[in-house]
Amino acid sequence: MPVFSFDHDPDRTRRFRELTLPHLNDVYTLARYLLRDAADAEDAVQECYLRALKHFDTYRGPAIRPWLFAILRNICRAEYARRAAAPAATIEDTPEAAEQTPLWHESQETPEAQILRERDADAIRRLIDTLAEPFRETFVLREINNLSYREIAETVGAPVGTVMSRLARARAMLRAAWIAEQEASR
C-alpha cells in the first residue's frame, strides 16, 4: 500500500528514490548473507527502505551505501535477537564435505564451465554462510558489496583496525574451510 503522508515533500522523496533505489540489489545481497533466508531478507529490505526514508535527514553523505547498510544491519540484528533461541552454525560445523564441489577450477568458458561456475558460487556461498556473524558481515561488505575499509568501518560502527582484523580472521577461516573441503573431495 502506498503511504501518503500529508506533510511529505516530493523533492525529498524524489531525491531519496534516486539515491537509494539503484542500490536495491546491493541491499538485498547483504540482507541475504546476513540473514541466510530469502523471505526474511525481503522483509528486512523493505523495512530498511521505509526506515531510511523516515530518517533520511540523518544521511550526511557522500556515499549512500554505508548509511543504508547500517540501517539494514540494525534491522538484521533485531532479527538475530528474535531468532536467538536457535543459535547460528559457526565455521566449525562445516557442511557434509561429500556434497561439496571443489572450488578451484580452470577458467574456460564452455557451457560445462559455466555450470561449474554456478555450482562454485553455491559452494562458496555455503562456506561464507558458515562464518560467524561479525566475520561474515565484514567479509561480504568487502568482497561482495565492494566497500572500502573506511566504508565498512562506517557501516558497522567499528574502527578501521577492527575491520582489518575481522577481515583477516574471516579470510583465514574461509581458507581453512576451503582447504579442508578440497582435501575431503579428493
Binding site: 503511504v3 538485498y28 525481503e42 572500502s148 581458507r175 576451503w178
Partner: protein, 255 residues
C-alpha cells in the same frame, strides 16, 4: 615487521588499501618470509576465485515492486510520460499540443528513453554465453583498429587496467537499428559495456547516471561522440569509470 602484523596487513595489500610506504614494508616482509609468501599467494588466489564467482543476489521483481509501492510517489499528481503519450496515440488534441511545442519535448525524451532501453537490451544480450566480445584482447592497439570499416566512428579504446577497469575487447552491436561500437571492460566479476555512437552535437555534455531495469547507465558526450557506459556495478564505481575514461581521453589528446 612481524608475521603477526603482516598476517593482517597482507589483506590490506590485496585490497589496495595501503599507502605506498606501508605497501613497500609489507612487500619487503613477504619477500623475506616463506610463510607469508605462501599466505599472500593463497589469499590472492582466493580473492580472484571469489571475485570471479557470481555471489551477488538480484532482488526479486516482486520485492522491487513492494519497495517502490511502499515509498510515497515523488510526483503523485503529474501523469507519467507514458500516459501523456497514450493520449497522443489516441489522436486527441494532437494538433493543439503540437502548437505548444510540448510534442517535440515529449518525443525527444521518449526517444532517449527508447535508446536507453535498447542499450540495456544490448547489454543483456552481450552477457549471454559467447556474445560478449567479437575481438578479444586486452591490448587497445588490437581492439581499436578492429572497429575500422565496421562502424562510422572510431571509438576511443583506452586501457584502464591500471585504474582498476580491465579492457577485455570490443564488439559490434545494434542499437536504434544501426551498428554501434561496444568496448568491453571488466571490474572484478562485473562487465561494463561502453557503447559509442556519433552525435550531431559536438559540445561536451557532462556525464549523468540513470538506472534502468536495475542497471546503471552513465551517459556523456564529447566532441561529436556519445557514450553510454552500462553495468551492474554501483553508480559510484560507474562514475569512477567514466571519470577515469574521460581523464585518459583528455590525456591522450593532449599528450
Amino acid at each position: 615487521m612481524t608475521c603477526e602484523e603482516a598476517e593482517i596487513l597482507i589483506h590490506a595489500l590485496i585490497d589496495g588499501e595501503l599507502d605506498a610506504s606501508h605497501a613497500r614494508e609489507v612487500e619487503a616482509h613477504v619477500a623475506a618470509c616463506t610463510h607469508c609468501t605462501a599466505a599472500l599467494a593463497a589469499y590472492r588466489q582466493m580473492s580472484q576465485v571469489i571475485a570471479g564467482a557470481a555471489l551477488r543476489y538480484t532482488a526479486p521483481e516482486s520485492l522491487r515492486r513492494r519497495v517502490e509501492a511502499a515509498l510515497p510517489k515523488a510526483t503523485a499528481a503529474a501523469p507519467s510520460r507514458r500516459l501523456v503519450l497514450r493520449g497522443f496515440a489516441m489522436g486527441s488534441a494532437v494538433s493543439a499540443l503540437a502548437a505548444t511545442g510540448l510534442v517535440a519535448i515529449v518525443l525527444r525524451e521518449d526517444d532517449e528513453q527508447r535508446i536507453m532501453s535498447e542499450i540495456v537490451s544490448a547489454h543483456l544480450r552481450s552477457l549471454q554465453a559467447g556474445h560478449l566480445t567479437d575481438v578479444l584482447s586486452t591490448d587497445q592497439h588490437t581492439v581499436k583498429p578492429w572497429f575500422n570499416g565496421r562502424i562510422d566512428v572510431a571509438p576511443p579504446v583506452i586501457d584502464l587496467t591500471a585504474q582498476g577497469f580491465t579492457l577485455i575487447g570490443g564488439r559490434l552491436d545494434y542499437v536504434d537499428a544501426r551498428p554501434i561500437g561496444a568496448v568491453v571492460y571488466k571490474r572484478r566479476a562485473h562487465v561494463i559495456n561502453l557503447f559509442v555512437a556519433q552525435t550531431a552535437n559536438t559540445e561536451h555534455r557532462a556525464a549523468r547516471t540513470e538506472t534502468l531495469q536495475g542497471y546503471n547507465i552513465r551517459t556523456w558526450s564529447d566532441r561529436g561522440l556519445k557514450f553510454w557506459a552500462i553495468s551492474d556495478i554501483g553508480a559510484d564505481e560507474l562514475a569512477e569509470f567514466s571519470e577515469k575514461f574521460e581523464a585518459a581521453t583528455r590525456a591522450n589528446k593532449e599528450g
